[in-house]
Symmetry: C2
Subunit: 221 residues, 2 copies
DNA sequence: GCATTCTTGTTTGCATGCAAACTCGCATGC
DNA sequence: GCATGCGAGTTTGCATGCAAACAAGAATGC
């Protein structure tokens, strides 16, 4: 997940809300990695002590986490939001629509540079050791991000980021089998071809189908 | 804009974060209506006094406003985010993609009830006094909301809500002329027909075109 | 024995206190 | 005249205080 636009510059920033944002980030990470289990109640004083801050930054980060949909209000305080398989599938559907749309725009707007970058990522991916899970996830992300960036609409990028994730409380959904990886690469190749041909409709259709395939894999687990 | 999912039940709720959420809501309204001008710095103590609360709920609501993209961090504190015409146009593009996608899903999933509701809204709209600006805005919203609801994907609904609005700092973009209203109604009729025919592709295409038309009107102002 | 009220401890929501960071005007030096 | 440095006044970021809401168990009534 890309960081909120309000994240301060990495270095030399005004150190504005340092504690508050760090708490936000640590909690976010803890939730999406599953370290904090779904429905686990979040005790302010507890978190504050563990992170060596007062309750104030903890409370402020709760507001952000709530806005991001990662925690939900309880009668008293907050609890970790539970992401069900159904949630993930619904998200995947939205993402299919959004990323498909982005691919369609990218077909119209991608510069030769964009296309070169995409082709390079794709080539790297083809040469990958199938056992290297990390590299597979990274290059897959890179491919999708590059397509989204080529759509040249920052609002669209935000919207896609906001849908979040292909994980639910820590269990990353992965294209585990070798065939699935081959299928994914074939999809990417088709998408890339459509972008290079500036065929907007094809790019959209193929990206949508590519993500819907992933959604189906999730549903069938 | 629909309220955050974390909004408490209207009555009898646990009165949880009453002040904090009220401040959020009042500020949100003040920003989108333009009462608070773009780039206006937001002084905590000032707002707190005006709203008769302490700085704490003000600060908490800032976190939410920031997450919603309505305020941006300054070197010191926060300022009202400026929505440029360009921002609105980019948003409209995203919305065209999302609502088009929603219409496509709605064509597959709308119940007879959904279709009845939509037809009723459409009929009401046709009989409207063209001078009744409020009713036009309201029924237009109702039509779009009904289509979105028929897509039966709450995440999609959230994503559409999050893109926000057709206003920028208070200036609602309206289909001002009579022709524009007629054109809008003709679009709606076509969309409705596609939904009734369960023609997903047509519903998507027409909804997308309908919103892109609005975007073009915005751009040309 | 079961339900109901009372009691006590926890945890929140909000207010306030305080030091540090920044702003801006003014004075001083060149 | 322009730049640089200093100091008073804001305004923030975070810590802490406090009363009210809630939860859970003990005591009481039936």
């Amino acid at each position: 997940m890309r960081l909120q636009p309000s994240a301060p510059a990495a270095t030399g920033g005004p150190a504005q809300q340092r504690r508050s944002l760090e708490v936000f980030d640590r909690l976010r990470r803890a939730i999406v990695t599953g370290e904090l289990r779904p429905n686990e109640p979040l005790i302010e004083a507890d978190i504050a002590e563990r992170m060596q801050v007062s309750r104030t930054p903890v409370r402020e980060s709760m507001q952000r986490l709530s806005a991001a949909g990662l925690v939900v209000p309880r009668k008293r305080g907050w609890a970790v939001r539970e992401f069900s398989l159904e949630d993930v599938a619904l998200n995947a559907e939205v993402r299919a629509g959004l990323e498909g749309f982005a691919a369609g725009l990218a077909a119209q707007r991608a510069t030769p540079d964009d296309l070169g970058r995409l082709a390079a990522i794709h080539r790297e991916r083809l040469g990958l050791d199938p056992e290297d899970e990390k590299a597979r996830v990274r290059t897959n992300r890179a491919f999708h991000d590059a397509v989204i960036a080529a759509a040249r609409n920052p609002k669209l990028t935000d919207a896609i980021d906001a849908t979040g994730l292909f994980y639910f409380n820590g269990d990353v959904v992965r294209m585990s089998s070798a065939e699935q990886m081959a299928q994914g690469n074939a999809d990417h190749a088709q998408i890339l071809a459509a972008l290079e041909a500036k065929d907007s409709a094809a790019a959209e259709t193929r990206m949508r189908a590519h993500i819907e395939r992933t959604a189906r894999i999730i549903r069938s687990r």
